[in-house]
């Protein structure tokens, strides 16, 4: 059967042949005419050398350098370009064995004949200098320069975090990273990885048969230069951080200090800590294993992740809630016979002036007052039920940033626990529980748990009379802005007028005329306001806790200190906090308090060798 379109076969044939001829012409141009792709006979190897950018530098709030980069050299091998070489000389230059050479070359061959593998990581600069001279005798090898993190002061390991090489799991989760790349694994190296890392580049070189670089391929037309990472400035005060770490030596616990008006973290100590240099370079994996198996868990960032009941510190919040809800006023008093008893329950207090109102109760940390106070909130008829009353209380507590992650710029922060009424409904049954069973919450024990950074943030909210700015460590980033969330004001549910009586109580606790619980924290002229806590610890000695801010008007620092197994809040946490405040506000410790500084630094709760002659402050209680 013939059809009238049969002639179209010629058109179709032409449509097939024409583009193919065009391709042939293009190929002829590309392969034969255009000289730019040609390689000469004796430099027929191209080497793509990755340019690794150096990570951004990290400064503290005063412009002091905290982290910089040091050059390091990796020896690379391309098995397909290897030629026989003098193994003995090679080994002696690099201080390696012949077995190592054979093994690494075998591994590299297995990976790829023509792609480069790392042969020897981070060769010393001395070996590098010698090798440089002799590299032409070892075809197939070349040196790849990298940079490693370096720390002028061995401080703030938990804040800075560390950098490591990506593994297969990280590559799978982070597109754009390939084997051999570095990535921030913890701390701000991780949070600000995108800003710090910069962009990789590549240089394509022509290499001759003698392993000599003949120059850039095509005048570098295909090269891409690396972009260094952005420098960043932290809100951290390096001197204060170092001082805090010294005070916390041989102790377990943490210090968090925040500038209340900005939410900037001034210091964040987690003890025990480690030297950040330990987790850099070739020694990293060995040291990491050692640190990870340490029973004191130095890698654990207690400031963000340790959960403690807040203890008596929490009386401050319960006082504020009662004032806000109109349950008590400044003049409401409860009498205290030295204990609080209801039914079969007894909460011990100590002997102090009685009856007490809000300021006095905070000054002496009266358990009876806050037991009454808390039950009065829950049982107040205006809520209709204990459940409702409890939820009102719980909502107020949460408005201080407790019970949820603060969403700071640290990657691994925990949320703590502020129970809801539903929790007790499940535990006791709906409407089967009374305020009496909850009474321990009134003095900061029971189901409550908080992290040190949450306590410091709560203190900042009190110092600000009712609001906080999410704590953060990043102050500024070169060519970029910090997260706007770190400028936002978070209001608590307490009106600012209710803070004055509570702050007066905190002031008296430190500077009070008589019977203040934290008189060890008093520093002349600094107007420190604080509250001690002694956290009951069923597993051993109580934890010593203290929150404070100073000065009373226009506060510049809010701080929380936890020292595990150290006993009373007034003996360890309060003096440490006061020394930190004094260091920050005054610049140095006054001569009259040097003995206290010495005693704090000497304190040892890890090796259990506590100083014998413990000085007991008058009326020492939590």
């Amino acid at each position: 059967m013939t059809d009238r379109f049969s002639d179209r076969k010629f058109i179709i044939g032409g449509m097939i042949v024409l583009p193919m001829l065009f391709f042939l012409a293009r190929l002829f141009f590309l392969q034969v005419i255009d000289p730019s792709y040609k390689l000469s006979a004796d430099s027929n190897v191209l080497r793509n050398v990755t340019q690794y950018p150096s990570r951004g530098l990290i400064y503290d709030r005063n412009g002091e350098l905290l982290v910089f980069n040091e050059p390091a050299y990796d020896l690379m091998v391309v098995p397909g370009q290897l030629a026989p070489f003098d193994t003995a000389e090679f080994c002696s230059v690099l201080d390696i064995t012949k077995e190592y050479v054979d093994e690494e070359i075998r591994k590299a061959r297995e990976y790829s004949m023509f792609r480069s593998s790392v042969f020897l990581k981070q060769i010393s600069s001395r070996n590098y200098a010698v090798l440089q001279e002799k590299l032409h005798r070892f075809p197939g090898f070349y040196v790849q320069s990298r940079t490693l993190r370096k720390y002028p002061r061995d401080i703030a390991a938990h804040i800075l975090g560390y950098v490591g090489e990506v593994d297969n799991r990280i590559i799978a989760d982070n597109p754009g990273y390939i084997s051999g790349d570095y990535i921030g694994i913890t701390g701000i190296e991780r949070t600000y990885e995108k800003e710090l890392r910069g962009d990789k580049g590549v240089n394509i070189f022509l290499v001759d048969v003698h392993n000599r670089i003949m120059g850039p391929y095509q005048e570098g037309r295909f090269n891409k230069s690396a972009t260094v990472g952005s420098d960043v400035t932290l809100s951290l005060d390096a001197a204060l951080q170092e001082y805090g770490e010294k005070l916390m030596q041989n102790k377990i616990g943490s210090i968090v200090a925040i500038e209340p008006s900005t939410g900037e973290i001034l210091s964040l100590v987690s003890a025990p800590t480690y030297n950040p240099d330990l987790l850099v370079g070739r020694v990293r994996s060995r040291n990491y294993r050692k640190l990870a198996s340490d029973t004191l868990n130095p890698l654990f960032n207690r400031a963000l992740m340790a959960h403690y009941p807040p203890g008596s510190i929490f009386k401050v919040v319960n006082g504020l809630i009662a004032l806000q809800e109109g349950i008590v006023n400044e003049r409401t008093t409860y009498s205290c016979p030295g204990h609080y008893t209801a039914g079969r329950l007894t909460v011990r207090c100590r002997h102090h002036f009685s009856p007490v109102a809000m300021q006095g109760a905070l000054q002496v940390s009266c358990n009876s007052y806050f037991a009454h106070n808390f039950r009065a909130i829950l049982d107040h008829p205006k809520y209709g039920s204990v459940t409702n009353g409890f939820n009102v209380w719980s909502d107020h507590v949460r408005s201080f940033g407790l019970g949820e992650r603060l969403e700071t710029d640290f990657p691994n922060e925990l949320r703590g626990n502020v129970p809801l009424a539903s929790y007790f409904d499940r535990f006791y049954g709906e409407n089967r529980w009374r305020s009496l069973q909850m009474v321990s919450l009134g003095i900061g024990q029971g189901e409550l748990s908080v992290t040190p950074i949450q306590m410091a943030n709560m203190t900042a909210a009190i110092a600000n009379r009712g609001y906080y700015i999410t704590p953060h460590i990043m102050k500024s980033i070169e060519n970029s802005e910090i997260d706007p969330a770190f400028k936002k004001i978070n209001q608590t549910s307490i009106d600012s007028v209710w803070f004055e009586p509570v702050i007066e109580g905190m002031y008296r606790a430190v500077n009070g005329p008589d019977g203040g619980t934290a008189r060890m924290a008093q520093v002349n002229g600094l107007d420190i306001c604080g509250k001690t806590g002694t956290v009951q610890n069923p597993h051993g000695e109580n934890h010593s806790a203290f929150i404070a801010f100073a000065p009373r008007e226009n506060p510049r620092i809010a701080i929380a200190v936890y020292v595990e197994n150290a006993g009373y809040g007034s003996t360890w946490a309060a003096p440490i906090a006061s020394l930190m405040i004094e260091k920050y506000l005054a610049g140095e410790i006054s001569a009259s308090r040097r003995w206290l500084e010495q005693r704090m630094m000497d304190g040892d709760f890890i090796n259990r060798a506590r100083p014998v002659n413990t000085v007991t402050a008058a009326g020492e209680q939590d």
Binding site: F5, G13, F23, L27, Q31, V32, R109, V202
Partner: protein
């Protein structure tokens, strides 16, 4: 009436020979592309080249089975097969394995199957069956609509995966329709659209106006057949629109491109309208319509490009157009590909001597970028031989298609030619930087069983039909 004939004797052995040469070239190139000291044997089945040999042997078996099938089977089952692949294309969206963002593969027992590959074949069979039995004229709009539905149903499903590369291949059926009598204007129209799309992405507003002027001039000329008049109209048109746009707009960067274009278009329309009046009144609306359509189209290309394409698709197109250049990103692959092919020179570096294709190169060196290995190791000589082989092969198939007595076999043959042609042009075009990187393989040469089997079946169905062309007279 039917006659018994010896299909093996009637088999077009020339095509089979070229087919085998291409398969062997692919096998050897894959060996060279992924060559590894530790596995020197080309028969090592733990390596890609060993596996490819298994696919090849299996493909030959499949070819033999196809050859022994009764040729009445293919038209008879074509609709059934078409429906079945549509089902598979739906199923793969639900049960397929997701590989780099595409749900295009079925995986079972360590094997992979890509329904889109078989959809090409099924559509070719169904189209041949439909066209060969249709009583309607092909240029009848209803008939064109039917054909469009038949072809675009699988395209739609493939776009959902999403696999733009495979979907584009279906456009090649236009060639078949052209052979069967579809108006040549449709092909020309498609070609103009393609050119406009490319230009729309490259152009600034000034160039766009020049383009519109050129278009107006050509249409004016075609319709009026008066070169002097057209030149006058075109020149006037150009001058006035450039002046208007130049004076009022180009100096103010605050005015949106759209507004500039709108003004340019309105001015142009106005001028053109008067120019057209001088030719023949009845053409004026047509001219205006054409111009407006071209304007809307060029603008919509920009819109689609900016708003609807994925970033990687954008960057692939930009690289081919030379718009942006990032050596480590998309264009890194193209650069490396060009370096590899370019460094091959006239005669190449020799077997296993290619370094570029093995060294820090694109990941798809044995599949989509296999042509680089050929270009690098065998030079222009090798490229020439392979391209010539392909040209010869395609022309041979055209010859075979034309000698068919049944419309079914001829239409199917042209479908096969169109599909192979599109693959070859896109694949080689992308390795030399003339076509955006669309992940489709080079037929018979790239690594991979699924595609190779699919092309083998497609080819041998045609060769079977050809061998039996004298069996039945239609």
């Amino acid at each position: 009436m039917s006659r018994k004939i010896n299909i093996w004797a009637n088999l077009d052995w020339i095509s089979v020979l070229v087919y085998l040469i291409l398969l062997m070239t692919g096998w050897i190139s894959i060996y060279s592309a992924v060559y590894n000291d530790a596995h020197q044997s080309i028969f090592d089945t733990s390596q890609l080249y060993g596996k490819q040999l298994i696919w090849i042997v299996a493909a030959l078996f499949i070819a033999a089975i196809v050859m022994m099938t009764d040729s009445r089977f293919f038209p008879f089952f074509s609709y059934f097969f078409y429906a079945f692949t549509l089902l598979m294309l739906v199923a793969v969206l639900f049960f397929g394995t997701e590989i780099s963002g595409q749900k295009a593969w079925f995986q079972f027992a360590g094997m992979q199957m890509q329904p889109a590959e078989f959809a090409k074949m099924a559509t070719a069979l169904a189209l041949a069956q439909y066209l060969s039995n249709s009583k309607q004229k092909i240029n009848d709009p209803r008939e064109l609509l039917n054909i469009a539905v038949l072809v675009f149903l699988p395209v739609l499903l493939i776009m959902l995966q999403p696999d733009a590369g495979s979907a584009i291949v279906f456009l090649s059926f236009m060639l078949v329709l052209f052979r069967e009598g579809m108006s040549g204007y449709v092909l020309f129209f498609m070609f103009v659209l393609l050119i406009l799309s490319v230009l729309a992405l490259l152009m600034t507003e000034v160039n766009m106006i020049l383009l519109l002027v050129l278009l107006a001039f050509i249409s004016h000329l075609v319709l009026g057949r008066n070169i002097k008049l057209s030149l006058k109209a075109g020149l006037l048109f150009l001058l006035i629109s450039l002046t208007v746009v130049g004076v009022f707009f180009l100096r103010s960067p605050h005015i949106q491109l759209e507004i500039k274009l709108l003004v340019a278009a309105l001015t142009s329309c106005f001028i053109l309208f008067f120019a057209a009046l001088k030719i023949r009144k009845k053409y004026a609306p047509l001219l205006l319509g054409l111009l407006a359509a071209a304007l809307v189209y060029t603008y919509s290309v920009d819109y689609v490009f900016e708003n609807l394409l994925m970033p990687h698709q954008k960057s692939r197109i930009n690289i081919v157009l030379g718009v942006d250049d990032d050596p480590l990103g998309q264009s890194y692959n193209i650069n490396q590909s060009k370096i590899a092919i370019g460094s091959g020179g006239l005669t190449g570096k020799g077997f296993l001597q290619g370094t570029q294709t093995k060294f820090n190169f694109v990941p798809e060196q044995s599949t989509d970028f296999i042509f680089c290995t050929i270009g690098e190791e065998w030079g222009f000589a090798g490229s020439f031989v392979i391209l010539s082989l392909f040209i010869f092969f395609l022309l041979r198939l055209v010859y075979l298609a034309e000698r068919q007595r049944s419309a079914f076999a001829r239409i199917y043959g042209y479908s096969l030619i169109s599909i192979l042609f599109t693959h070859i042009v896109i694949n080689i075009g992308m390795t030399i930087g003339l076509v955006p990187v669309i992940g489709i393989p080079l037929p018979f040469i790239s690594y991979g069983g699924s595609a190779m089997w699919s092309y083998t079946i497609m080819l041998f169905i045609f060769l079977r039909l050809d061998a039996g062309r004298t069996e039945f007279l239609k």
